[in-house]
Each structure stands twice: as structure tokens, then as C-alpha cells.
Symmetry: C2
Subunit: 740 residues, 2 copies
């Protein structure tokens, strides 16, 4: 070939190659530079579901419940170290973990001078004493670490008087006794658990001049009527006759000395004399074995039918014992309480998996660590799952297989049993940080009450993510149902939007979710497995807060095989992953519309006529609910549209912020100044049975018997305006962000 | 050529082209797909600076101040329409604009029965009357729309008694009168403006049994001592003898009937009998011409030297008139006030430029619209700038030249003069939306008090953006100084970090920024041009709140040529653009460190010894300040590092959220329950002269004379914990977001 030809061909080739390069670079759009944004990975989800291991949960539980671990006890501190060790494990730990300690006011019985309940004869001698400890039926009920049954925060004192029976210690119970002409002043009231909160029994009693309170668990309420040793643990899941429910009798939550301030050593502490919410009179819980001795010997009128229980005798009201019983008729009951308040160090343990894309969005998952005794169910059944979840996710993390889009924070709270103290102090210390950034709070405390069905409490925005999760997980037990399909058989409701769906319960203040939802306005949920109500009427699992809540109790009776534990772990795990990994936050704010509509309808139905009588119109509330519904629906539409396109991460972030922050818009720290920490205008405590806006409902109850111009009716109007403002404000945050 | 050769060459060429395309597409990274994120555009900034036109501002002012436009008057409503028209203009308007109306409680003098101040002789006849109106010196002081001078919210009543002179009506002034043995019960107190707030004069007087209050402006305080007609407006900028400062005497802000609720028609309204904060006794302002007649005829002891003024006589204390004066010695003064409270509709006007990238981040700029009379200075000098800013930005927007990264919201507030009512109701109605999304609030009310220098009040995070803006804008007047360089000559301080810098004032409650900073915790600023203090001691521009605050007053005396107006417009415009367009938010949170350090040092110096006596340690506060300093500095470092790279918009958004939300972390709605709307623990009202943490300082003042175990000392400790918790919480939000 001629060299000119070669040159020509070479030049031509270079030109062609060059043209190609130019075309390739500019004319073909490049995909690699805009990769799909990190989203929920179904394979990872599947892996997590598979790896959550029932056996490991069981082993966690065995270790956690090996010894009693009362808040601030040495064993409680050992478990802090256990958690830290697991969360710092190089193979299966989190990105970082640490313990933080608060100095909080706890209440303990005296070890030197145990609390006692005696029957004192006419001459002043003790003729009978109640048991001071539970019977050591499995070898785990003895020993120095089993705290004597007591009513935490009940004051010390040694009241003595004639015994009366006061049913559940509700206000109406004491009124009934009054109606019956029974002189309550100076008496000792025997009450049973249930109906009202623990502390309320003593508060109500004290109003009537009662000097001391006893509280027991009736076999009718906890044991489906059974009470003999051979029918109870260790022969069944029922409470043995000597079992006593311990508990906090404090009316509020959080450290009693540092309301609204974190209980760090330097914080201001309220003078003890100014602390409110402690029971006003000495109070002591006893077992039903002891309660039988007292109650079955009472004198006086027969108690009403609804006051009767399963102790095998006719309950009478007293006062005092009947002449033909086991004790002289004028015997009295002496309640000697020697509880002591102590400032103790209590730790939270926190661990974090850093989000890859949005590290400043936190999916927060927690449970308390402290128990009353061994606490196999409460709280270790939850902690066993917490450890398994963190292990599975930690392992994927450490292997480099996965890192979530958002941060996941795990928490082990201290001193929950005394009043949600660790979690509350945490929210006080990091109020703004948490409020700005937390996507949702997931609580799994007692993970398995029983093994029949899932039970979820939560605010409306979490409903859909729980539904999505549970539809994909097989239910334990026979058959091939999903957890969702099984759940709907036990708890369901007819939704105007979805038809028949499982029903979520609402969040009270029963566990550590309380400060998150009520004080911070963070969408929250509590997940557990629970009873088939057709099979038991027990108000809670029978060994609750007793020394019989042990590993064997769970292993033999509550969840042999731990498949319910596994089901809860999977549900929680799936919810965590969906919240932390989904590009679009799976919080469906439009599900609040149904709640608001039903609250509104209840208000119209049950309060409408009364309000009209006092010239108060629900019109503005109707308008506000309608506005919320419309804006929530429109936002849902915009999300759908966006999901069909390929939105950029900033666009989705803005939208997710609207979803995340909706729950905050229902907070008003000035709405209920007398209700400590309760700022959520939809979920604050509500008296009365109508399920509606609590502020409105409570104000109406108080105003009902007053004249139209009263302060109480002004408060009704104020509460109505507060909720209208909250709903209008919420609707405004759902509008397109650049709308005026 | 052979066909095989041709084929060969053809195939080779195709292969080469193909190879090129492949290389071009995959081997060369494409820039076009990751364009630089939208950031501040200096050319746009320059354009805006150039287009802000002094002449147009002057024409805006002429139109705005043409008629009196008292809140809720027809002319006020006309201006609502004017604003809407401008903001909806297709050539120079915003994306959208709307008016929103509240029903608020205002106070007006009766038109049928004007307020009067008379001297009543011994026989009960009126022997002298004060002027009911200002003298019509320019033809603008007459007419039905010029509201009679009055003390808004002062109750009606016709008290009569001997006159006393009470200086500025401060608590110590009345104590001084008591010390002098003057019986105050039933007297009328003549006070002068200044020293304490308007309402406080009546509150303090009432505590001493005084029956009525007169308030005047002393020429010493406002006119540099000048008082004759030929020395005052229209011959100079000084207040004419008949000029009377109107004003609100309400002690709080916001609609008086709807605290914490938006004053929409349906909202709950407090019963009038329960409203607090109104002056307790009839009160009326008068001009110094009338005050001279009263004061120069007083009997009694000579007033202290600091009580003397420039009325050309020796001020005496009273009570009553001296025998050798113009009135009989036992003449009394009758103050007849016929003010009426009325529910009126008052509108805010809002307009928005939608952000292109982060529409859910709002840069909020506002001023009130209502005046007392023509209000050329107050507030129209600000509104004239508001209109010019919106015109220039709107024009760029409508041309398609520019759209900001974040949204810009313009606001024209109603009824500010009565107590920041429009802005406060707005923050009540959209509390959450604003708190979640507002980057900063910029207030320009009176834009030009005088034409010497810039004056800025604001919280520390806004300092740097104001500095950046003002360094780039030429100062009006001779020379070639920047606004910054001119400013530093008048207001400066020595910063430990920066050396000599202009000093920003702190934000009280003098204009509509108050609800934004104190109630919502949004970083705020107020911008104006003001006095050379070496040239005048006037406490404010002399015609403030009088019928002499007219267009000609501004045009001739305050800012001929409107170059100071233009300077303020440019400053505000540059600040708006920097806040709305900068990729990284120009809020320098580390500038809070200096403030906290100086507050701490003041506390140590002035309260340290006292606290130590009561065993209260400032140690936790020292630690908290140090922690804040360290975290703020570290965040600054991370920003610098990030700015050097090419961070993605989501990363920067997360960081910007930390900057934007820092101010929120200083809010605690439970810190000062008695101080309505004040939740910011650093800027709540502070009594006493020590510039330190207000809660701590105020609590110390109250505790100072009590014993160590008192409630007051407990409150000191509580306040100390509140500020420590806030600072620790703030520091926590500045940490890397995935740190525990």
C-alpha cells in the first residue's frame, strides 16, 4: 500500500474514532451518573427476616432473665455492660454505642425493716401476719436480689384500723361505700388491681380519710378464677397464691424530682415536700392467698355483685371482721410500710447504625431493661428481641452488605418500672434534636403476653407500614396465614377507607413510648404478641411483676419454641427496615383523617346537643377536619405522582419532612398545663368513655353541671379552639410547601 | 478499488466509529449530568442592587403616606388592595399573593365624645382646656381621618384631682414622690415619655392610688431642647408644640382576646373582665405646649435635677398649682377618656416567590402597614422599601431571569401599632409550618430614623450575612465608604474573634420580629438607618406617632434624595438574596459562642459571688458554654471542608437544617410561664442592667433579699438548669448528626 494511502486511511480512521467518541460522549445520555436513589431492598429485607432466629432470642432471654435486675441494681448494671459488649462487637455490633447515666429518685422497701401487714387483736397483739415474700416454688423466688413486694413511692407509715373492702379503689367505689353508710375515716382499704391506675387507688382512698391501702390481685381478674397451687405456676401459667404484683404508684412519669429537666447531677431538683403524684398514704400489695384471709372474714353488708371475685367466699364490705370468722370481731389491720426514697444512678444504653444517605433522620427503637424481679416477660422478652435485631442488622453492617438510608438508633432504657424514667430523661435532654430528626419511635417492651395474635398500638401514620410488614410475614402456629391475616381475626374494625382491617390500639402511658408521642409528638408504636380473649380473661399475663415471671415461665407456658417472639422480631425488623430504607417514608398521614372524622362524629353525637345548649358550635371543627382530609388526600396524590416519576432525593426529602413532622403539628405545650408532659391534643388522657378529642371531652365533663357563663364553659371553648387551631395548622403543613 | 477492499474499509470504519462511540460514552465522565447546584449568583445580586431605585421608593412613600391609614380604617384596607395589586402584577409581581384577615380587639377614641384634659377651678368650672387636636400646620393635621391623640387601650373614665409631676412614671419615680411626702391617692400624674414603657406608667401610677395619668413629650427628650414653632416642623425636623405621641398602652403583644390562638372569628376569646395588660386607669397623652401650661404652674417642692426638662421653667412636684400661677391654687385637673374597645377586621398581606430547589425553606421579610396618622416614617418608610424590593425581584422572576433557590415570603402586617397584632396572629395560626421551615425573619419597619448610619438588631447567626451584604454596598453620603465601613464608625465593639466590628443590637419587642424570635425561635433581624448620636439626643425621630410624620417631613428632613432608604433597601435585598440563594445557608451559628461567653462572664462577674453565698455553682453553665463553643467550632470546620469539595445537595440540606434550627433549640415554652410568648431562654425580657441570661438574672433579682432555702432561690436553680439544658441541647444539635 502506498504510504499516502496508509496515511489517508489512518487519518480517516482517527477521524471516525474521534467522531465516535464525540457521539458517544455527548449524544447518548449516561445512566450511570444518576443511579437510582437508595431505597428499600427486598432482598435485604428477606435476609433479615430469615436470620432473625427464635433460638437466639431464647438464649438472649435466658441470659437476660438469669438474675433479678431491678433498676440501678448491680445486675442491671451488668446488663448495661452486656448490651455495650454486644453493640460494640466487631462482627455483629453497631457503628457506636454508649451508656448514659441519670441520677434519679427511686423508691425501695427497707432491707432491714420489711413492710408488714398484720391483724392486730383487741388486746393489741398480732394475731396473724401476711406473707412478706412469695413462696419459693421454683428456687428462683428466694435470695437477696428478689425485692420484697411493695408499692414503689408509697410513703412509709404504720396506719392501723378496721378493714373495709373497696373493690378497685375507684372514686365511685368509695362513693358506694359512703352510700352504704360505712365510715371510712381511719380505716384500711383492701382493693384489688384493675379498673384504675395503681396510684389512683391510694389517692382516692385518702380523699375519704382512709389511713392505709392494701392491693391484691383477684384470681377472677388474673387466673380465670383458678387459685389452688396445683392449678397455678409451675403447673400452669396462672399466678400462684403467694404471687404479688409490684409496681410504681407514682402518678406521673419521668424522674419525680426533675420535671422537664434531664436528671443529670447538676440539674435543679424539686424539694421533696413539693413533689406531687406520690401516693398520699401507706400502701402495700399482697397476694390473693393473704387477701383471702382478710376478705373472707369481713363483716358488714354483702358487696355488690360486680365487686365479687374468685376467692371462694362472699365478699363483704366491712368495716372489720365478722364475729364468727377467723379473727376477733374488733381486730384491726396494721399496714407497716418502710419504703425509702433514694437517689440512684440509672443508665440508658444507646447504639446507632449511621444512615448512608440521610444520617440525620433517626428511626428509634427501644425497650426498657430494668425488671421488678427476673422479668423474663417484662421486659426481657422485648430486650431479647432488641439484641437479636441488633445482631442481625449489625452483622449485615459489619460485613459491608448493607447500610440503611437513615440512621437506626437502638435504646435500652433504665428505670422504666418506676415511671418511664430513662426514656423520659432522654427526651428531656435531647428534646430538640429528637423532635427535629426522629422519623418514628418503635417500642417493644413485653414482646409476648401470649401467643395468639399480634397487637399493635400506635398513631395513625404508622398503620400502613405495620400492615405492609405483617402481610409479608408468616404467622406462627398452624396454617399458612400471614401475621396480618391472623391479626385481623382477633382485632379488627371496619374502616371507611379500607374495609375490614386489623385495629391498632391507641397509646396511653404504659411504656417508654409515652414521652415520645405525648411530649415530643413523634409518631410511635408498641408491638407485641398477645392473648386469644376467648380463652382467657386475665387482665395481663398472670405472673406480671411477680417473682414467678421467669425464663421457664416463658419457655414452658407463654411461648414454647419462641415462634411468637420471632414473629414480633420479624414485624419490628421489617418496620425498622421500611422506615429506615424506603426512599419515600412509609408514614401515611392521610390515615389520620379517619381518626379525626371518628373523633368528630363522636363529638357531634355525644357532645353536640350539650354544646348547642350552651351556644357552642362544632362548625369550625367540622371545617378543620374537612380541610385536613382534603389536604391529606391531595398530598397522597402528589406522592403517587412523584413515585411514578424519578424524583430527585431533595424533592423526596421535602415531602418526607412533611410526613415526618405531621405528628409534631398536634403538639401544644400550653393546651393542658396541668397534665405533665402531655402536649398532644389528640392523645392526651381522656376521662369518660367517648373516644373523641380529649381536651374537649374533659372540659365538657367539668362544665356539664355549671351554668353557661362559667369558667368551665369558657374552658370548653378554649379547648375547642385549641384543637381547631391544631388541625388547621396540621392541614397547612400538608399543603404544597410554597402555597401561602 | 476492489469491492472487497471497499467492504473491508467500510467495516473497519464502522468498527472504529463504534469503538469511538463506546469509548466516548463510557470512558469520559460526563459533566453535564451533575450541574453545579444553584447558588448565590453575584450577577443577579449586582442587578438587584442596581435596580433598587431611590426615586421609586420616594414615589411609593408618597402614595403610602398620602392619607392616614390607621389599622382597620378604610385607607388601611385600600393599601391592602394596593399591595395585592402590586404583588399580582404580571410584569413585576410575585408567584402569588393574598390577604388574610383576623378579627382583633382594637381601641379608639370616641368620635362623638373626644377625650379632654381640663383644668377645673375651685368652683367646678372649666378654666382651661388642653388641645384636643394637633395644630394644622401643613394642612395634613386636620380632617376626620386624623385620629385624636389617645392612649390606646386606656380605659374610659373621668378622674379629677390635684396634679403631681411624676417624671417618667417609673416605679422609682413614684417612690421618690412618696419619699417627698406627697400624697398620691386620687391625684392626676403628669409624666413624660421615655424611661419605661407607655403602659408601665399607668400600671405604676395605679399602684399608688393615682386616679389618672397624663403623658407628654419633653422637648429635652425629643427636640434637643428646642420648643418654639419657628424651631420646629415645618421649619426643622423637630416636633411642633402641639404634637402628641399616640401609642398602644397594652403591656403584652398579640390580640388581647386570643392569647396563643389565631384571632379568626371562631376562636375562643377571653372575657374582657379577665384580660390583663391594659392600663388600669384613664390615661391621655398631650403635647408639650399643654404640658408647659400644667407643669410650669405646679406648686410644691422643686423636682430633682434629672426630672427637669426643657419647657423653660423649674419643674415642681405638686400636688396642685401654685398660688401665683395662671390657675387658682386649688384647681384640679380633669382627665376625661372615652376610649372604646372594638372588634375590627385587620388584614395581613402575604406574597411568595416560590423557591426553585428548596421551596419549603422560607426567607420571610415583613413590615407592618398600619400607621397612627399618615405614618410616612412609621411604617411607610419600610413599606416603600418592601414594595421596591418585591418589584425588583418580581420583575426578574416574571422575566424568567431568576428564581431563588428557597422561597421568599413578603408580609405586610396589620395592626402592629396596637401591639404587633397581625404578625403575632400569623405566628399563632401557622406555628408549626413556620417553625419547621423558616430560615430567617427580616424586619424593616421604620427604615430611616435618620440618615447617618445603618443600625441592625438581630441574633448572632445573622451577623455574618449582614456583614457580607454591607461590605459590598456603598454608603450614601460623601466619600467612598461601604455601608459596613460607615456603620462601624457609629456602632462598634471589640470582638474576641473578629476584632473591631459593627455591633448589632439585641431584639426586644419593638416591632413585628418579636413573635418570630421570642415565640417561634426563628433567627431574626431588624434593619434601619439611624442617627448620629453626636448630633441629636432625640429619643426617637421627633414626629414619631404624631400627625406631623408626613411625606414632606421625610422628603425634606429625614432623607432628602432617599439615599438612606436606598441603602436600607440594598442591605435588605442583599440579605434576602444571600439567605434565599446561597447553597450553604449564611447563618453563622458559631457567632452565638461569643454571646454565650459574654453572658457567662457577666453572670460570673455580677452574680457569681451572690450565687456562691447560696451554694449555687456556675460550673455546669461553664461546661455547657464550653461544649457549645467546641461543637460550633467543629461544625464550622466541617462546613469549610465540605465547601471545598463538591457536596451533594442532600448533604448540604442536612447541614443547613442544623444551622436553621439552632435558634429553635433555645426555646423552652415552660421557662417563663408568666411572660406571654417569651420562650427564648437567651432573649426573654431581662430586668436589671447586667447583660446575661435573662432567666437567671431575673430570678437572682427576686431571690437576692430572701433566705437561702426560699422558693426564690429554688427558682434561681431552676432557671440555671433551664439555660444549661438549652445550651447542652443546642450543642447536641450541632454535633455530627449520627453521633450519639
Amino acid at each position: 500500500m502506498q504510504w499516502t494511502k496508509v496515511l489517508g486511511l489512518g487519518l480517516g480512521a482517527a477521524a471516525l474514532l474521534g467522531l465516535g467518541i464525540i457521539l458517544g460522549h455527548f449524544a447518548i445520555p449516561k445512566k450511570a451518573n444518576s443511579p437510582a436513589p437508595q431505597d428499600l431492598d427486598l432482598e435485604i429485607l428477606e435476609t433479615v427476616m430469615e436470620q432473625l432466629d427464635a433460638h437466639r432470642i431464647r438464649e438472649n432471654l435466658r441470659e437476660l432473665s438469669r438474675e433479678p435486675h431491678l433498676a440501678s441494681s448491680p445486675r442491671d448494671e451488668d446488663l448495661v455492660q452486656l448490651l455495650l459488649q454486644r453493640w460494640k462487637d466487631p462482627e455483629s455490633g453497631l457503628d457506636s454505642a454508649e451508656a448514659s447515666t441519670y441520677e434519679v429518685l427511686l423508691s425501695f422497701p427497707s432491707q432491714e425493716q420489711p413492710n408488714v401487714v398484720d391483724i392486730v387483736g383487741p388486746t393489741g397483739g398480732i394475731i396473724h401476719s401476711c406473707h412478706r415474700t412469695e413462696e419459693n416454688v421454683t428456687g428462683e423466688q428466694g435470695g437477696p436480689d428478689v425485692v420484697q413486694p411493695y408499692a414503689a413511692y408509697a410513703p412509709s407509715g404504720t396506719p392501723q384500723g378496721l378493714l373495709v373492702y373497696a373493690n378497685r379503689g375507684a372514686e365511685e367505689d368509695f362513693k358506694e361505700l359512703q352510700t352504704q353508710g360505712i365510715k371510712l375515716e381511719g380505716t384500711i382499704a383492701l382493693t384489688r388491681y384493675g379498673g384504675v391506675g395503681r396510684g389512683a387507688k391510694a389517692v382516692n382512698a385518702a380523699k375519704h380519710g382512709i389511713a392505709g391501702v392494701l392491693v391484691y390481685t383477684d384470681p377472677a381478674d388474673i387466673n380465670d378464677g383458678l387459685s389452688s397451687p396445683d392449678e397455678t405456676f409451675p403447673n400452669s401459667w396462672y399466678l400462684p397464691p403467694s404471687g404479688v404484683e409490684r409496681g410504681s404508684y407514682y402518678e406521673y412519669f419521668g424522674d419525680p424530682l426533675t420535671p422537664y429537666l434531664p436528671a443529670v447531677p447538676s440539674s435543679f431538683r424539686v424539694d421533696l415536700a413539693n413533689v406531687s403524684g406520690f401516693p398520699p398514704i401507706p400502701t402495700q400489695p399482697i397476694g390473693f392467698q393473704d387477701a383471702r384471709d382478710l376478705l373472707c372474714n369481713l363483716n358488714g353488708t354483702l358487696a355488690p355483685a360486680t365487686w365479687q371475685g374468685a376467692l371462694g367466699c362472699h365478699y363483704r364490705l366491712g368495716p372489720g371482721f365478722r364475729a364468727d370468722g377467723d379473727f376477733p370481731a374488733d381486730s384491726q389491720v396494721n399496714v407497716s410500710v418502710y419504703n425509702r426514697l433514694e437517689l440512684r444512678n440509672s443508665s440508658n444504653v444507646l447504639g446507632i447504625i449511621r444512615g448512608a444517605v440521610e444520617p440525620d433522620r433517626y428511626v428509634l427503637y427501644g425497650n426498657h431493661r430494668d425488671s421488678w424481679v427476673h422479668g423474663a416477660v417484662d421486659p426481657s422478652s422485648g430486650t431479647a428481641i432488641l439484641l437479636e435485631l441488633s445482631r442481625v442488622l449489625g452483622t449485615l453492617l459489619k460485613k459491608g452488605t448493607w447500610r440503611p438510608r437513615r440512621s437506626i438508633v437502638f435504646a435500652s432504657w433504665g428505670a422504666e418500672e418506676f415511671g418511664l424514667i430513662g426514656s423520659t430523661e432522654f427526651t428531656e435532654e435531647f428534646f430538640n434534636k429528637l423532635q427535629e430528626r426522629t422519623v418514628a419511635y418503635i417500642n417493644v417492651d413485653i414482646s409476648v403476653f401470649a401467643n395468639a395474635t399480634l397487637r399493635v398500638q400506635g398513631t395513625p401514620p404508622v398503620q400502613s407500614v405495620v400492615f405492609s410488614a405483617t402481610k409479608e410475614i408468616r404467622s406462627p402456629g398452624p396454617g399458612d396465614l400471614s401475621i396480618y391475616d391472623n391479626w385481623i381475626r382477633y382485632f379488627n374494625r371496619s374502616s371507611p377507607v379500607y374495609g375490614l382491617v386489623p385495629s391498632l390500639g391507641s397509646l396511653g402511658a404504659g411504656s417508654d413510648y409515652a414521652p415520645f408521642i405525648h411530649f415530643l409528638g413523634i409518631s410511635s408504636m408498641d408491638i407485641a404478641y398477645t392473648y386469644d380473649r376467648s380463652k382467657t380473661s386475665a387482665r395481663i399475663y398472670p405472673t406480671y411483676h411477680t417473682a414467678f415471671d421467669t425464663f421457664d415461665y416463658v419457655d414452658k407456658f407463654l411461648d414454647p419454641g419462641f415462634s411468637s417472639h420471632q414473629a414480633v422480631a420479624r414485624t419490628a425488623g421489617s418496620v425498622i427496615l421500611r422506615l429506615s430504607d424506603s426512599f419515600f417514608l412509609p408514614l401515611k398521614v392521610s390515615d389520620y383523617s379517619e381518626t379525626l372524622r371518628s373523633f368528630l362524629q363522636a363529638a357531634q353525637q355525644d357532645l353536640g346537643a350539650l354544646l348547642e345548649q350552651h351556644s357552642i358550635s362544632l362548625g369550625p371543627l367540622v371545617t378543620a377536619v374537612e380541610k385536613f382530609e382534603a389536604e391529606a388526600a391531595a398530598l397522597g396524590q402528589r406522592i403517587s405522582t412523584l413515585q411514578k416519576g424519578s424524583p430527585d432525593p431533595l424533592q423526596v426529602r421535602m415531602l418526607n419532612d412533611q410526613l415526618m413532622l405531621l405528628e409534631r403539628t398536634f403538639l401544644n405545650p400550653r393546651a393542658f398545663p396541668e397534665e405533665r408532659y402531655y402536649s398532644h391534643v389528640l392523645w392526651a388522657p381522656r376521662t369518660g368513655s367517648v373516644v373523641t378529642f380529649p381536651g374537649l371531652s374533659n372540659a365538657c365533663s367539668r362544665a356539664r353541671d355549671t351554668a353557661s357563663g362559667s369558667e368551665a364553659w369558657a374552658e370548653v371553648q378554649r379547648q375547642l379552639s385549641i384543637v381547631v387551631t391544631a388541625l388547621e395548622g396540621a392541614a397547612a403543613t400538608l399543603r404544597p410547601v410554597a402555597d401561602l
